[in-house]
């Protein structure tokens, strides 16, 4: 299936995605990117070879074997991984000062500080309920959605399905600590995000993002909202 030069790259993902996943079950997205790159390269080569030819009268036979194509995709996967590794490890971590002492210490050490308000977002919230055992009087906190939406016998709901903002910060302000040699356009990782951005949702709960990639524009950081995708916790 990979040998056909007439494969439409735009639709190839729909047609071959399942097969790509079977071939590279643990490399998914990178494998797809590698597959596109190799296919694109082959198509480009084909276009160059057939430029100006009337293809109705040309019989094109692809001599590239499946094994050879697969090897090219594997090589491309390794190249993409190496590139991503170099790219990620080259990004500087920008630290955050969370109280006045930390901020003034950074200033004392010659750093610039970007002061910001700590403003809770109403999109970030978790749900809870409180119920009381009617026999023992014990009060229990319900956090899991299944617990919250089910009803236990011999209990009474004291507080039901309430949302609240669960994060606490030392001060209503914070500051990113800016290295003096930070260049406009430089991509960095904001290690402790001041802005409230929804990072993950789980059942009825939404949580803030801890860190994100951003670009320094000379005055502030433009957060790259494509730079995070929290599907699990690693650390």
């Amino acid at each position: 299936m990979y040998k056909r030069y007439d494969v439409n790259i735009e639709t190839a993902s729909e047609k071959y995605r399942a097969n790509i996943r079977k071939m590279f079950p643990q490399k998914e997205d990178i494998a797809l990117e590698a597959y596109y790159n190799v296919l694109n390269e082959r198509s480009h080569t084909f276009s160059q070879l057939t430029n100006g030819l009337d293809l109705k009268h040309v019989l094109v036979k692809d001599t590239l074997s499946d094994d050879a194509f697969e090897a090219m995709v594997e090589d491309e996967i390794d190249r993409i991984k190496e590139e991503k590794k170099r790219y990620k490890s080259s990004m500087r971590l920008i630290k955050t000062a969370r109280n006045l002492d930390e901020i003034n210490l950074a200033v004392e050490y010659g750093y610039k500080v970007l002061m910001m308000k700590v403003e809770p977002s109403d999109k970030i919230k978790v749900m809870y309920s409180l119920e009381q055992d009617l026999e023992t009087g014990e009060i229990s906190l319900l956090q899991d959605s299944w617990e919250i939406y089910s009803h236990s016998e011999n209990t009474k709901r004291l507080i039901d399905k309430m949302y609240y903002y669960p994060y606490q910060f030392p001060s209503p302000f914070a500051a990113y600590i800016i290295p003096s040699d930070l260049k406009v356009g430089e991509r960095v990782i904001l290690d402790d995000l001041i802005e409230d951005i929804v990072g993950a949702s789980h059942k009825m709960h939404t949580y803030r993002l801890d860190s994100a990639e951003a670009i320094w524009n000379g005055e502030r950081f433009d957060i790259d909202h494509n730079s995070y995708s929290v599907d699990c916790s690693i650390g």
Binding site: I30, V126, H202
Partner: protein
Amino acid sequence: MQFNPITNTLYTDDNRFIKKMYCPYTSLKWSDLSSIEGSMDRYCDICENSVVETDNLDDEALWKLLQDKPKTCLKVDWQQANVRIVHHV
């Protein structure tokens, strides 16, 4: 085990602290990491460390692992069967 996404902290079911999870590379996905042959764990090319898949580990095994090697990197999928999401531990 219990995971608190607010503090990014992992505990056993009987509330023993396992680890506070931290990784600045929020864009890193599990599928970005290199597979390790014969293991469910994966390898992070940035930190050059293995990342332990916790899906099949019980509390005791995980707790002991982190007691021996506190800097072990873990992967916790919030949907996995052996994890309960909590906010008040």
